[in-house]
């Protein structure tokens, strides 16, 4: 079968200008993102926060059009907050994911958004749901997204094992993101991490000079 290989410019425009990742562990999830927002070749924001809280224990990682994902996240935050008040208890991660899917699928022609929804609820513990462009919804133990994600599929496949601890997950995510940021021109800056569990949300930032280093060709 013929394959076309072009190292100088992609044959299709990268849709996502970022790298985002989320991993489930027993007791919660670890999510991470780079911090670069680009308009063409200019870095509009080099310290972006792409990890957006939707509810107390539910976050989303945004990739794609910044405007579209902000708008969708605002809508879902409102819908989920309302639902949670009606229910009189904390919402499920699956509910949040389905709300994202509903918006992304209904307006799929107008939107350019790839979102990973991750969080903790007391029914199923830590969960990661991915809602890529087009509006599909699927739950995965580990998920990557954005233009930089293609470079780390191999790393993720080989390094993820089920039943990891929180620290192992943090190392996996920060390692994978730093590899993607080195290779993808549209990802860079700092690595933002968040660990979500029953006890709360623990956020951290890893600056450029503190990132893990790899010996590259």
């Amino acid at each position: 079968m013929l394959t076309l290989y072009n190292p100088i410019c992609s044959l299709y425009n990268p849709i996502y200008y970022t790298t985002i990742m989320a991993v489930e562990y027993d007791g919660g999830v670890v999510i991470g993102a780079d911090s670069r927002t680009t308009t063409g070749a200019y870095i509009a924001n080099r310290v972006t926060d792409k990890l957006t809280p939707i509810h107390d224990r539910i976050f989303c990682c945004r990739s794609g059009s910044a405007a579209d994902t902000q708008a969708i996240a605002d809508v879902v935050t409102y819908q989920l907050g309302f639902h949670s008040i009606e229910l009189d208890e904390a919402p499920l991660v699956q509910t949040a994911a389905n709300l994202f899917k509903a918006s992304c699928y209904r307006y799929r022609e107008e939107l350019m958004a790839g979102i990973i929804v991750a969080g903790w609820d007391k029914r199923r513990g830590g969960q990661v749901y991915t809602v890529p462009v087009g509006g599909m919804l699927v739950r995965q133990p580990v998920s990557v997204g954005g233009s930089g994600s293609t470079y780390i599929y191999g790393y993720m496949d080989s390094n993820y094992k089920p039943n990891m601890t929180k620290d192992q997950c943090l190392r996996l995510v920060s390692g994978a993101l730093s590899l993607a940021m080195e290779r993808d021109g549209s990802s860079g800056g700092v690595v933002r991490l968040a660990a979500i569990s029953e006890t709360g949300v623990d956020r951290q930032v890893i600056l450029g000079n503190q990132l893990p280093k790899w010996s590259t060709a």
Binding site: M1, L2, T3, L4, Y5, N6, P7, I8, T150, Y151, I152, Y153, G154, Y155, M156, D157, S158, Y160, K161, P162, G175, A176, L179, A180, E182, R183, W214, S215, T216, A217
Partner: protein, 188 residues
């Protein structure tokens, strides 16, 4: 497809191929092809002739750099018509094992190791993380096999059998790994 080299200590080189994507252009020099198969075959055929002619004229085996350079000339001078990229790798007396990339427009680059083809995008992270200089032959083979298996697991146009070739001063060794014997990862 992956080409890996271990420079100093053990003088081993490992290249990989899938199906007919590895062409032997001289006794100790192989060429991995990516892109339009027709273009790549035409280019390597012409290059094979030029390299063996050069080798006869010089009365010694060709340098890997010379072989890569021949490919580069062909790619650069015909860049409008061609759509093929190459990894040229092998062993020669002057510098030992070497790996050269000849990219689409005719760029020539010498690297300790390189990856190419449609499946290569998925293993950039893995290769960057796992590669270290001065690996042994077994480590190189393990690295290449794992990288190939990961790429074949994600790329829909890569798959089947993994071919590996080890080129040393002593000779050339083919290793074939069928798909079901490749290493498996957590989701398989």
């Amino acid at each position: 497809m992956v080409g890996v080299e271990d420079l100093v200590h053990f003088r081993y080189y490992v290249s990989s191929k899938t199906i007919n994507k590895l062409i032997q252009v001289h006794d100790r020099i192989f060429c991995c092809i990516a892109g339009s198969l027709a273009d790549a075959q035409a280019v390597t055929k012409a290059a094979k002739f030029q390299i063996s002619f050069h080798s006869i004229q010089m009365e010694s085996p060709p340098l890997v750099k010379a072989a890569a350079s021949v490919l580069k000339e062909l790619c650069y001078n015909n860049k409008e018509e061609l759509q093929a990229g190459f990894i040229t790798a092998g062993w020669d007396r002057k510098k030992g094992p070497q790996v050269y990339t000849v990219a689409l427009g005719g760029m020539l680059l010498s690297q300790p190791f390189t990856i190419g083809g449609s499946g290569s995008t998925y293993i950039y992270g893995y290769a960057d993380a796992k590669y270290k200089p001065d690996m042994s032959k077994e480590e190189c083979l393990q690295f290449a096999t794992n990288a190939l298996a990961l790429a074949m697991g994600r790329d829909n146009v890569s798959g089947g059998v993994a071919h590996l070739v080890v080129i040393t001063e002593e000779g050339v060794e083919h290793i074939v790994i069928p798909g079901d014997k490749l290493p498996k990862f957590h989701d398989e």
